[in-house]
Symmetry: C2
Subunit: 202 residues, 2 copies
Amino acid sequence: MPTLKTTPKRGRPQTLDRDAVLKIALTSYWTGGPTRVAISHICKEADVSKPSLYREFGSDDGLKAAVLDLYSELVLGPFHNILTSNEGFAQQIEALIAFTVQDRKSLGIPSGCLQVAMRAHREDLGKVTGNKVDMLRSQTLRNYEAWIERAKSRGEFKAEIPTQAAALFCDAQNGGAMRMQREGIPNEIIKQTLTHAFSTFA
Amino acid sequence: MPTLKTTPKRGRPQTLDRDAVLKIALTSYWTGGPTRVAISHICKEADVSKPSLYREFGSDDGLKAAVLDLYSELVLGPFHNILTSNEGFAQQIEALIAFTVQDRKSLGIPSGCLQVAMRAHREDLGKVTGNKVDMLRSQTLRNYEAWIERAKSRGEFKAEIPTQAAALFCDAQNGGAMRMQREGIPNEIIKQTLTHAFSTFA
DNA sequence: ATAATTTCGTAACTATCGGTACAATATGAA
DNA sequence: TTCATATTGTACCGATAGTTACGAAATTAT
Protein backbone atom coordinates (compact mmCIF):
# COMPACT_ATOMS: atom_id res chain seq x y z
CA MET A 1 0.00 0.00 0.00
CA PRO A 2 1.47 3.35 -1.05
CA THR A 3 1.94 6.07 1.55
CA LEU A 4 -1.30 7.86 0.87
CA LYS A 5 -1.13 11.64 1.09
CA THR A 6 -2.85 12.76 4.24
CA THR A 7 -3.87 16.36 4.69
CA PRO A 8 -0.78 18.38 5.63
CA LYS A 9 -0.31 18.20 9.38
CA ARG A 10 0.81 20.78 11.85
CA GLY A 11 4.35 20.87 13.08
CA ARG A 12 7.68 20.33 11.44
CA PRO A 13 7.32 18.01 8.46
CA GLN A 14 8.80 14.57 8.75
CA THR A 15 11.92 13.99 6.71
CA LEU A 16 12.51 10.42 7.88
CA ASP A 17 11.64 7.95 5.14
CA ARG A 18 10.42 4.87 6.95
CA ASP A 19 10.63 2.57 3.95
CA ALA A 20 14.13 3.74 3.07
CA VAL A 21 15.33 3.15 6.62
CA LEU A 22 13.73 -0.28 6.68
CA LYS A 23 15.38 -1.23 3.44
CA ILE A 24 18.79 -0.12 4.66
CA ALA A 25 18.29 -1.90 7.97
CA LEU A 26 17.23 -5.04 6.16
CA THR A 27 20.37 -5.05 4.07
CA SER A 28 22.55 -4.34 7.10
CA TYR A 29 21.06 -7.08 9.25
CA TRP A 30 21.02 -9.53 6.38
CA THR A 31 24.63 -8.87 5.48
CA GLY A 32 26.19 -8.30 8.87
CA GLY A 33 23.94 -10.34 11.14
CA PRO A 34 20.96 -9.06 13.14
CA THR A 35 22.84 -8.92 16.42
CA ARG A 36 26.10 -7.52 15.09
CA VAL A 37 24.76 -4.33 13.55
CA ALA A 38 24.38 -1.44 15.98
CA ILE A 39 21.55 1.05 15.82
CA SER A 40 24.08 3.85 15.37
CA HIS A 41 25.44 2.11 12.29
CA ILE A 42 22.03 2.01 10.66
CA CYS A 43 21.53 5.65 11.58
CA LYS A 44 24.73 6.59 9.77
CA GLU A 45 23.90 4.46 6.74
CA ALA A 46 20.43 5.96 6.50
CA ASP A 47 21.57 9.44 7.45
CA VAL A 48 19.05 9.62 10.23
CA SER A 49 19.48 10.66 13.84
CA LYS A 50 19.02 8.16 16.60
CA PRO A 51 16.02 9.87 18.21
CA SER A 52 14.31 9.98 14.82
CA LEU A 53 14.75 6.29 14.40
CA TYR A 54 13.50 5.63 17.94
CA ARG A 55 10.49 7.85 17.34
CA GLU A 56 9.60 5.76 14.31
CA PHE A 57 10.31 2.25 15.56
CA GLY A 58 10.20 2.60 19.33
CA SER A 59 13.24 0.49 20.04
CA ASP A 60 15.89 -1.78 18.68
CA ASP A 61 13.40 -4.58 19.10
CA GLY A 62 10.74 -2.67 17.17
CA LEU A 63 13.07 -1.97 14.28
CA LYS A 64 14.19 -5.59 14.01
CA ALA A 65 10.59 -6.76 14.10
CA ALA A 66 9.65 -4.35 11.32
CA VAL A 67 12.62 -5.51 9.28
CA LEU A 68 11.60 -9.11 9.75
CA ASP A 69 8.13 -8.27 8.46
CA LEU A 70 9.68 -6.75 5.37
CA TYR A 71 11.90 -9.77 4.88
CA SER A 72 8.92 -12.05 5.19
CA GLU A 73 7.13 -10.12 2.50
CA LEU A 74 10.09 -9.90 0.13
CA VAL A 75 11.63 -13.36 0.47
CA LEU A 76 9.46 -15.75 2.41
CA GLY A 77 6.40 -14.81 0.38
CA PRO A 78 7.87 -15.82 -2.99
CA PHE A 79 9.24 -18.96 -1.37
CA HIS A 80 5.79 -19.87 -0.12
CA ASN A 81 4.33 -19.17 -3.54
CA ILE A 82 6.39 -22.01 -4.96
CA LEU A 83 4.92 -24.40 -2.41
CA THR A 84 1.38 -23.48 -3.37
CA SER A 85 1.87 -23.22 -7.12
CA ASN A 86 -0.01 -25.37 -9.59
CA GLU A 87 3.12 -27.18 -10.76
CA GLY A 88 3.79 -30.82 -10.04
CA PHE A 89 5.71 -31.86 -6.94
CA ALA A 90 8.94 -32.60 -8.80
CA GLN A 91 8.82 -29.25 -10.54
CA GLN A 92 8.13 -27.47 -7.28
CA ILE A 93 11.20 -29.09 -5.79
CA GLU A 94 13.23 -27.97 -8.75
CA ALA A 95 11.91 -24.44 -8.35
CA LEU A 96 12.72 -24.43 -4.63
CA ILE A 97 16.28 -25.48 -5.31
CA ALA A 98 16.68 -22.94 -8.09
CA PHE A 99 15.32 -20.23 -5.81
CA THR A 100 17.72 -21.21 -3.06
CA VAL A 101 20.90 -21.44 -5.12
CA GLN A 102 20.28 -18.50 -7.44
CA ASP A 103 23.34 -16.35 -7.84
CA ARG A 104 22.92 -13.70 -5.18
CA LYS A 105 25.94 -11.67 -6.12
CA SER A 106 24.75 -10.81 -9.59
CA LEU A 107 21.34 -9.89 -8.17
CA GLY A 108 22.77 -7.67 -5.45
CA ILE A 109 21.17 -9.82 -2.76
CA PRO A 110 23.09 -10.73 0.39
CA SER A 111 23.93 -14.38 0.85
CA GLY A 112 22.21 -16.51 3.45
CA CYS A 113 18.80 -16.06 5.00
CA LEU A 114 17.79 -13.50 7.59
CA GLN A 115 15.22 -15.83 9.10
CA VAL A 116 17.83 -18.53 9.57
CA ALA A 117 20.21 -16.01 11.10
CA MET A 118 17.57 -14.70 13.47
CA ARG A 119 16.72 -18.20 14.58
CA ALA A 120 20.38 -18.84 15.30
CA HIS A 121 20.44 -15.72 17.47
CA ARG A 122 16.96 -16.18 18.86
CA GLU A 123 18.07 -15.69 22.44
CA ASP A 124 19.76 -12.39 21.70
CA LEU A 125 16.65 -10.82 20.23
CA GLY A 126 14.03 -8.71 21.97
CA LYS A 127 10.61 -9.88 23.00
CA VAL A 128 8.70 -8.70 19.95
CA THR A 129 11.22 -9.86 17.38
CA GLY A 130 11.75 -13.12 19.19
CA ASN A 131 8.05 -13.89 19.17
CA LYS A 132 7.87 -12.97 15.51
CA VAL A 133 10.70 -15.34 14.75
CA ASP A 134 8.83 -18.12 16.52
CA MET A 135 5.62 -17.38 14.66
CA LEU A 136 7.40 -17.31 11.33
CA ARG A 137 9.09 -20.59 12.08
CA SER A 138 5.79 -22.27 12.95
CA GLN A 139 4.28 -20.89 9.79
CA THR A 140 7.18 -22.14 7.70
CA LEU A 141 6.74 -25.64 9.09
CA ARG A 142 3.00 -25.50 8.52
CA ASN A 143 3.62 -24.43 4.94
CA TYR A 144 5.93 -27.37 4.36
CA GLU A 145 3.43 -29.71 5.97
CA ALA A 146 0.57 -28.52 3.79
CA TRP A 147 2.80 -28.84 0.73
CA ILE A 148 3.78 -32.39 1.64
CA GLU A 149 0.25 -33.45 2.51
CA ARG A 150 -0.91 -32.20 -0.85
CA ALA A 151 1.81 -34.14 -2.63
CA LYS A 152 0.99 -37.23 -0.62
CA SER A 153 -2.70 -37.02 -1.46
CA ARG A 154 -1.74 -36.77 -5.13
CA GLY A 155 0.54 -39.77 -4.88
CA GLU A 156 3.55 -37.67 -5.86
CA PHE A 157 5.34 -38.14 -2.56
CA LYS A 158 7.42 -41.33 -2.58
CA ALA A 159 9.09 -41.42 0.83
CA GLU A 160 7.74 -43.15 3.91
CA ILE A 161 8.14 -40.51 6.55
CA PRO A 162 5.60 -38.74 8.75
CA THR A 163 4.63 -35.32 7.47
CA GLN A 164 5.90 -33.50 10.53
CA ALA A 165 9.33 -35.09 10.28
CA ALA A 166 9.41 -34.45 6.54
CA ALA A 167 8.67 -30.77 7.11
CA LEU A 168 11.46 -30.53 9.64
CA PHE A 169 13.70 -32.30 7.15
CA CYS A 170 12.91 -29.73 4.47
CA ASP A 171 13.53 -26.89 6.86
CA ALA A 172 16.86 -28.39 7.88
CA GLN A 173 17.94 -28.71 4.24
CA ASN A 174 17.07 -25.12 3.56
CA GLY A 175 18.85 -23.93 6.69
CA GLY A 176 21.89 -26.00 5.84
CA ALA A 177 22.01 -24.57 2.35
CA MET A 178 21.77 -21.02 3.65
CA ARG A 179 24.60 -21.64 6.08
CA MET A 180 26.79 -23.17 3.39
CA GLN A 181 26.13 -20.16 1.22
CA ARG A 182 27.30 -17.83 3.96
CA GLU A 183 30.41 -19.93 4.40
CA GLY A 184 31.25 -19.43 0.77
CA ILE A 185 30.59 -22.95 -0.46
CA PRO A 186 29.94 -22.84 -4.23
CA ASN A 187 26.30 -22.88 -5.25
CA GLU A 188 26.98 -25.86 -7.49
CA ILE A 189 27.97 -27.99 -4.50
CA ILE A 190 25.04 -26.73 -2.46
CA LYS A 191 22.77 -27.66 -5.32
CA GLN A 192 24.16 -31.19 -5.26
CA THR A 193 23.31 -31.60 -1.59
CA LEU A 194 19.81 -30.21 -2.05
CA THR A 195 19.15 -32.31 -5.11
CA HIS A 196 20.24 -35.38 -3.24
CA ALA A 197 18.17 -34.46 -0.18
CA PHE A 198 14.96 -33.91 -2.11
CA SER A 199 15.51 -36.80 -4.49
CA THR A 200 14.24 -38.94 -1.63
CA PHE A 201 10.80 -37.39 -1.93
CA ALA A 202 9.82 -37.62 -5.58
CA MET B 1 46.93 -36.20 30.90
CA PRO B 2 46.67 -35.79 34.69
CA THR B 3 48.11 -32.73 36.38
CA LEU B 4 51.34 -34.30 37.47
CA LYS B 5 52.64 -33.18 40.83
CA THR B 6 55.54 -30.81 40.32
CA THR B 7 57.94 -30.05 43.16
CA PRO B 8 56.32 -27.51 45.47
CA LYS B 9 57.01 -24.02 44.13
CA ARG B 10 57.73 -20.80 45.87
CA GLY B 11 55.01 -18.26 46.44
CA ARG B 12 51.39 -18.59 47.39
CA PRO B 13 50.04 -21.93 46.34
CA GLN B 14 47.53 -21.95 43.52
CA THR B 15 43.96 -22.69 44.53
CA LEU B 16 42.47 -22.32 41.06
CA ASP B 17 41.56 -25.70 39.62
CA ARG B 18 41.99 -25.35 35.88
CA ASP B 19 40.09 -28.51 34.99
CA ALA B 20 37.21 -27.62 37.28
CA VAL B 21 36.93 -24.15 35.76
CA LEU B 22 37.06 -25.59 32.27
CA LYS B 23 34.32 -28.04 33.02
CA ILE B 24 32.09 -25.36 34.48
CA ALA B 25 32.79 -23.06 31.54
CA LEU B 26 32.03 -25.86 29.11
CA THR B 27 28.67 -26.50 30.71
CA SER B 28 27.88 -22.79 30.82
CA TYR B 29 28.76 -22.15 27.19
CA TRP B 30 27.05 -25.33 26.06
CA THR B 31 23.88 -24.53 27.94
CA GLY B 32 23.69 -20.78 27.62
CA GLY B 33 25.50 -20.14 24.36
CA PRO B 34 29.18 -19.24 23.97
CA THR B 35 28.49 -15.56 23.37
CA ARG B 36 25.78 -15.13 25.98
CA VAL B 37 27.75 -16.21 29.03
CA ALA B 38 29.87 -13.46 30.59
CA ILE B 39 33.26 -14.10 32.12
CA SER B 40 31.97 -12.80 35.45
CA HIS B 41 29.24 -15.41 35.39
CA ILE B 42 31.73 -18.22 35.00
CA CYS B 43 33.80 -16.72 37.81
CA LYS B 44 30.81 -16.83 40.13
CA GLU B 45 29.88 -20.36 39.12
CA ALA B 46 33.45 -21.57 39.64
CA ASP B 47 33.99 -19.41 42.72
CA VAL B 48 37.10 -17.88 41.17
CA SER B 49 38.12 -14.26 40.88
CA LYS B 50 38.38 -12.62 37.48
CA PRO B 51 42.12 -11.96 37.68
CA SER B 52 42.71 -15.60 38.56
CA LEU B 53 40.81 -16.72 35.53
CA TYR B 54 42.65 -14.26 33.31
CA ARG B 55 45.99 -15.41 34.70
CA GLU B 56 45.12 -18.97 33.74
CA PHE B 57 43.54 -18.46 30.33
CA GLY B 58 44.84 -15.09 29.21
CA SER B 59 41.59 -13.76 27.86
CA ASP B 60 38.00 -14.51 27.05
CA ASP B 61 39.25 -15.81 23.73
CA GLY B 62 41.76 -18.08 25.44
CA LEU B 63 39.15 -19.56 27.76
CA LYS B 64 36.73 -20.26 24.93
CA ALA B 65 39.49 -21.89 22.90
CA ALA B 66 40.43 -24.11 25.83
CA VAL B 67 36.79 -25.04 26.33
CA LEU B 68 36.46 -25.91 22.67
CA ASP B 69 39.47 -28.20 22.97
CA LEU B 70 37.82 -29.96 25.88
CA TYR B 71 34.57 -30.28 23.96
CA SER B 72 36.43 -31.72 21.01
CA GLU B 73 37.98 -34.33 23.24
CA LEU B 74 34.80 -35.21 25.09
CA VAL B 75 32.23 -35.17 22.31
CA LEU B 76 33.77 -34.89 18.88
CA GLY B 77 36.26 -37.65 19.63
CA PRO B 78 33.66 -40.32 20.37
CA PHE B 79 31.70 -39.14 17.36
CA HIS B 80 34.74 -39.59 15.15
CA ASN B 81 35.35 -43.02 16.65
CA ILE B 82 32.07 -44.19 15.19
CA LEU B 83 33.14 -43.10 11.72
CA THR B 84 36.37 -45.08 11.94
CA SER B 85 35.00 -48.14 13.70
CA ASN B 86 35.15 -51.60 12.17
CA GLU B 87 31.40 -51.89 11.83
CA GLY B 88 29.59 -51.91 8.52
CA PHE B 89 28.35 -48.67 6.97
CA ALA B 90 24.72 -49.26 7.87
CA GLN B 91 25.64 -50.03 11.46
CA GLN B 92 27.80 -46.94 11.66
CA ILE B 93 24.89 -44.84 10.49
CA GLU B 94 22.72 -46.41 13.14
CA ALA B 95 25.33 -45.67 15.77
CA LEU B 96 25.66 -42.06 14.63
CA ILE B 97 21.93 -41.54 14.90
CA ALA B 98 21.79 -43.22 18.29
CA PHE B 99 24.64 -41.04 19.50
CA THR B 100 22.89 -37.93 18.27
CA VAL B 101 19.44 -38.57 19.67
CA GLN B 102 20.47 -40.15 22.97
CA ASP B 103 18.50 -38.77 25.87
CA ARG B 104 20.58 -35.90 27.12
CA LYS B 105 18.44 -35.03 30.10
CA SER B 106 18.88 -38.37 31.82
CA LEU B 107 22.62 -38.18 31.19
CA GLY B 108 22.96 -34.66 32.54
CA ILE B 109 24.29 -33.44 29.21
CA PRO B 110 23.09 -30.13 27.76
CA SER B 111 21.09 -30.32 24.56
CA GLY B 112 22.53 -29.21 21.24
CA CYS B 113 26.14 -29.07 20.14
CA LEU B 114 28.72 -26.51 21.21
CA GLN B 115 30.52 -26.74 17.89
CA VAL B 116 27.32 -25.99 16.01
CA ALA B 117 26.62 -23.09 18.34
CA MET B 118 30.11 -21.68 17.92
CA ARG B 119 29.83 -21.90 14.16
CA ALA B 120 26.57 -19.99 14.31
CA HIS B 121 28.32 -17.28 16.31
CA ARG B 122 31.60 -17.52 14.44
CA GLU B 123 31.80 -13.79 13.85
CA ASP B 124 31.40 -12.97 17.51
CA LEU B 125 34.32 -15.09 18.62
CA GLY B 126 37.91 -14.04 19.16
CA LYS B 127 40.78 -14.78 16.84
CA VAL B 128 42.05 -17.94 18.50
CA THR B 129 38.66 -19.51 19.08
CA GLY B 130 37.46 -18.49 15.65
CA ASN B 131 40.41 -20.17 13.97
CA LYS B 132 39.89 -23.24 16.09
CA VAL B 133 36.26 -23.39 15.02
CA ASP B 134 37.35 -23.24 11.40
CA MET B 135 39.94 -25.96 11.86
CA LEU B 136 37.45 -28.18 13.64
CA ARG B 137 34.93 -27.68 10.91
CA SER B 138 37.42 -28.62 8.19
CA GLN B 139 38.40 -31.66 10.16
CA THR B 140 34.78 -32.68 10.60
CA LEU B 141 34.23 -32.50 6.87
CA ARG B 142 37.42 -34.43 6.17
CA ASN B 143 36.30 -37.09 8.63
CA TYR B 144 32.98 -37.44 6.85
CA GLU B 145 34.72 -37.57 3.49
CA ALA B 146 37.10 -40.30 4.58
CA TRP B 147 34.18 -42.23 6.02
CA ILE B 148 32.20 -41.94 2.81
CA GLU B 149 35.15 -42.79 0.58
CA ARG B 150 35.75 -45.90 2.62
CA ALA B 151 32.11 -46.93 2.28
CA LYS B 152 32.20 -46.23 -1.44
CA SER B 153 35.30 -48.35 -1.92
CA ARG B 154 33.53 -51.17 -0.10
CA GLY B 155 30.46 -50.84 -2.23
CA GLU B 156 28.34 -50.01 0.81
CA PHE B 157 27.48 -46.51 -0.34
CA LYS B 158 24.44 -46.53 -2.61
CA ALA B 159 23.86 -42.87 -3.49
CA GLU B 160 25.22 -41.09 -6.53
CA ILE B 161 26.60 -37.94 -5.04
CA PRO B 162 30.13 -36.52 -4.99
CA THR B 163 31.93 -37.17 -1.73
CA GLN B 164 32.35 -33.50 -0.89
CA ALA B 165 28.65 -32.81 -1.28
CA ALA B 166 27.82 -35.93 0.69
CA ALA B 167 30.02 -34.80 3.54
CA LEU B 168 28.33 -31.41 3.60
CA PHE B 169 25.00 -33.20 3.55
CA CYS B 170 25.97 -35.24 6.61
CA ASP B 171 27.15 -32.16 8.42
CA ALA B 172 23.92 -30.36 7.61
CA GLN B 173 21.85 -33.25 8.97
CA ASN B 174 23.80 -33.28 12.18
CA GLY B 175 23.56 -29.52 12.54
CA GLY B 176 19.85 -29.61 11.86
CA ALA B 177 19.33 -32.32 14.45
CA MET B 178 21.25 -30.35 17.05
CA ARG B 179 19.20 -27.27 16.37
CA MET B 180 15.94 -29.21 16.60
CA GLN B 181 17.07 -30.63 19.89
CA ARG B 182 17.67 -27.14 21.27
CA GLU B 183 14.25 -26.09 20.09
CA GLY B 184 12.71 -28.86 22.11
CA ILE B 185 11.61 -31.10 19.28
CA PRO B 186 11.20 -34.68 20.57
CA ASN B 187 14.11 -36.99 19.93
CA GLU B 188 11.76 -39.47 18.30
CA ILE B 189 10.89 -36.98 15.57
CA ILE B 190 14.52 -35.97 15.13
CA LYS B 191 15.38 -39.62 14.74
CA GLN B 192 12.82 -39.92 11.96
CA THR B 193 14.42 -37.08 10.01
CA LEU B 194 17.91 -38.50 10.47
CA THR B 195 16.85 -42.00 9.54
CA HIS B 196 15.23 -40.67 6.42
CA ALA B 197 18.24 -38.54 5.54
CA PHE B 198 20.75 -41.34 5.87
CA SER B 199 18.50 -43.97 4.32
CA THR B 200 19.57 -42.45 1.01
CA PHE B 201 23.13 -43.66 1.57
CA ALA B 202 22.91 -47.32 2.46
C1' DA C 1 3.00 38.21 13.72
C1' DT C 2 2.30 35.01 17.35
C1' DA C 3 1.10 30.69 19.30
C1' DA C 4 0.61 25.83 19.00
C1' DT C 5 2.43 21.73 17.37
C1' DT C 6 5.48 18.33 15.63
C1' DT C 7 9.95 16.70 14.26
C1' DC C 8 14.89 17.35 14.29
C1' DG C 9 19.57 16.22 16.09
C1' DT C 10 23.39 17.00 19.66
C1' DA C 11 24.92 15.42 23.66
C1' DA C 12 24.41 13.16 27.26
C1' DC C 13 22.95 8.88 30.49
C1' DT C 14 23.05 3.94 31.90
C1' DA C 15 24.22 -0.75 31.92
C1' DT C 16 27.14 -4.38 30.58
C1' DC C 17 31.31 -6.57 29.79
C1' DG C 18 36.19 -7.58 28.88
C1' DG C 19 40.21 -6.48 31.12
C1' DT C 20 43.67 -4.77 34.85
C1' DA C 21 46.19 -2.13 38.99
C1' DC C 22 47.30 -3.01 43.27
C1' DA C 23 47.65 -4.30 47.89
C1' DA C 24 47.01 -8.34 50.81
C1' DT C 25 48.23 -13.17 51.54
C1' DA C 26 50.70 -17.50 51.71
C1' DT C 27 54.35 -20.14 50.77
C1' DG C 28 59.82 -21.55 50.29
C1' DA C 29 64.53 -19.96 50.81
C1' DA C 30 68.28 -17.60 53.59
C1' DT D 1 62.87 -13.91 61.42
C1' DT D 2 63.19 -11.79 57.14
C1' DC D 3 63.26 -11.70 52.13
C1' DA D 4 61.84 -13.21 47.61
C1' DT D 5 58.25 -15.08 44.98
C1' DA D 6 53.80 -16.24 43.28
C1' DT D 7 48.68 -16.18 43.72
C1' DT D 8 44.49 -14.02 45.49
C1' DG D 9 40.53 -10.87 45.20
C1' DT D 10 38.54 -6.02 45.50
C1' DA D 11 37.71 -2.32 43.04
C1' DC D 12 38.31 0.13 39.26
C1' DC D 13 39.08 1.37 34.06
C1' DG D 14 37.56 1.92 29.16
C1' DA D 15 34.81 0.81 25.37
C1' DT D 16 30.44 -0.18 23.40
C1' DA D 17 25.60 0.00 22.64
C1' DG D 18 20.74 0.98 23.66
C1' DT D 19 18.13 4.85 25.11
C1' DT D 20 16.57 9.60 26.18
C1' DA D 21 16.47 14.87 27.80
C1' DC D 22 16.19 18.88 25.76
C1' DG D 23 16.50 22.91 23.02
C1' DA D 24 16.48 24.31 18.07
C1' DA D 25 13.87 24.25 13.73
C1' DA D 26 9.88 24.09 10.62
C1' DT D 27 5.31 24.04 9.70
C1' DT D 28 -0.10 25.16 10.39
C1' DA D 29 -3.78 27.63 12.92
C1' DT D 30 -5.43 32.03 15.00
